[in-house]
């Protein structure tokens, strides 16, 4: 893994790697052995943002990043969650058309392969899930919806996601879950944390 370390002000470094797999691996390694003074690790699509304050210094943080020996591939420590989905999303037919699959094939592709939370963002508890069936790669909608209901299960740009709360959104909706994936009274508040494995199962309407 080649990590490029970019400055990001006096309180952070942005570590750039080649792909999301490497991000997850680096995040795991850094999170498992926290460095004194590091306050936040924010994994994203190609980068890990490391925020710090004294006693950490840019040099010590960069040295820790360079010394990290992340292992890509197998991962099991972060946990697993099963999300029952009713596949009744407003864009299910469109996703089928875009992928050349039938609606049933979309469902079996979505449930057939485990996903993994690569990173969170957009909103608290919104996890970007990767590693699913590559046939499910669809672009975002050209126009964003003003209101996406909470629990909506969606696809866009190779990712899948579950909307934790009602929010605007441009992803394609294929179904919904009643599982509350974000709960501020729970510890941790998010079901979908970086590294967590996610299995979708088809639930019956009701």
């Amino acid at each position: 893994m080649t990590a490029r370390v970019r400055p990001c002000g006096d309180g952070a470094l942005l570590v750039e790697v080649d792909d999301v797999e490497e991000v997850v691996a680096l995040y795991d390694t850094m999170a498992a052995a926290p460095l004194a003074g590091v306050t936040d690790l924010v994994p994203a699509a190609r980068t890990l943002l490391v925020r710090f304050e004294p006693p950490a210094r840019p040099e010590t943080v960069e040295a820790a990043v360079r010394a990290a020996r992340p292992r890509t591939g197998r991962r099991d420590a972060a946990g697993e969650v099963t999300i029952p989905v009713v596949y009744d999303g407003a864009d299910l037919a469109e996703v089928a058309a875009l992928t050349g699959l039938t609606e049933l094939e979309v469902i079996s592709a979505h449930t057939g392969t485990p996903w993994v939370v690569a990173f969170c963002g957009f909103a608290p508890g919104f996890g970007y899930l990767t590693g699913g069936d590559p046939r499910l790669t669809v672009p975002r909608r050209t126009e964003s919806r003003v209101r996406v209901p909470p629990g909506s299960v969606a696809l866009a740009a190779g990712f899948s996601a579950v909307y934790p709360r009602e929010s605007p959104g441009g992803w394609r909706l294929i179904g919904h879950t009643t599982l509350q994936i974000w709960d501020i009274t729970a510890d941790p508040p998010a079901h979908l944390r970086p590294g967590v494995q996610v299995r979708f199962t088809e639930a019956t309407r009701g």
């Binding site: 400055p7 006096d10 999170a31 306050t39 936040d40 924010v42 699509a45 969170c120 919104f126």
Partner: protein, 352 residues
Amino acid sequence: MTTRPPHGATPRTAILPSPRAAPRTATHLARGTDPQVITSPQAAPWGATFPARARRWAMGDRVLLEVLVPGPMTTVQDLGRPGLGHLGVGRSGAADRDALRLANRLLANPEGAAGLEVTMGGLVVRAHGHLLVALTGAPCPATATGPDGRARGIGHAAVECLPPGSVLRLGLPRYGLRTYLAVRGGLAVDKVLGSRSTDTMAGLGPPRPTAGTLLPVGPPPEGFPLIDLAPIPAPPAGEAVLEIAPGPRDDWFTPDALDTLCSEPYEVTTDSDRVGMRLRGPRLTRARDGELPTEGMVPGALQVPPSGQPTLFLADHPVTGGYPVIAVVRTSDIGRAAQTRPGDRIRFHLKH
């Protein structure tokens, strides 16, 4: 399970006399067992609709700050919720952190105690119980009117006493944007994910106070205020000069873009809030097309959308973003940025 109040259980002093035990009728209103602190924003006296009987009880037995007029934009803020960025939760907290810290230090509170962040003044509050308060940040003309109807001036960055029933009024700041009102003991609204800050972007934390909101005040800390005034020089008039460090994505722009950024002042536009400030000035030109994969953002980041006009991120900035950040404002200058108003001018100074 401990019921120790958050800032250490100390006997109340003569300034803040010991509260009477909460009457039995109160128990169904407050979650938790500490009778001094109202802990649930749902059940506690938060809104104007709070039942009159409970309201009387609350006023009779508790040290509270009642919001009479919230002004254009007032929120409860502490120093935020670090360490949750990986869950998509930003830090939030006071936009001018040093100002909140100073107000708390004046009152011998822990630096991170929650206070009110008041944007463009206009706040009117009433003291229920004896309160010690301090105002920092943007200096407002402030008066306290006692129950006898007599008004007196309230100093800036000074320890001031508000006897029960007195009303504190903030005018329009002479300069600056955000004034902090801290109370000895701190505002004891419920914490959400470890913080009492309202994150306006994520919709986390306590609701914005409105007319009639009763804010509980926590138990006083062990220490006592040692000085009654912090002499704070006014910032230099004219442009706010902010130091920046290049990166992380300065390579997405033409080689002269950083010089352009520092060549002329940028004007703060009205499209500014706790999330960030949209600036107007010399256009920054990209050297490459395409989309940047989403990446983590920091406060002080100068993110440049396709318009070429930078946005300066403040406390409630998005955790991740998809536009390149050309440079980041030095941490110690972010409070200064947060005190600029629409129409003010900012000049960036590149750190060498």
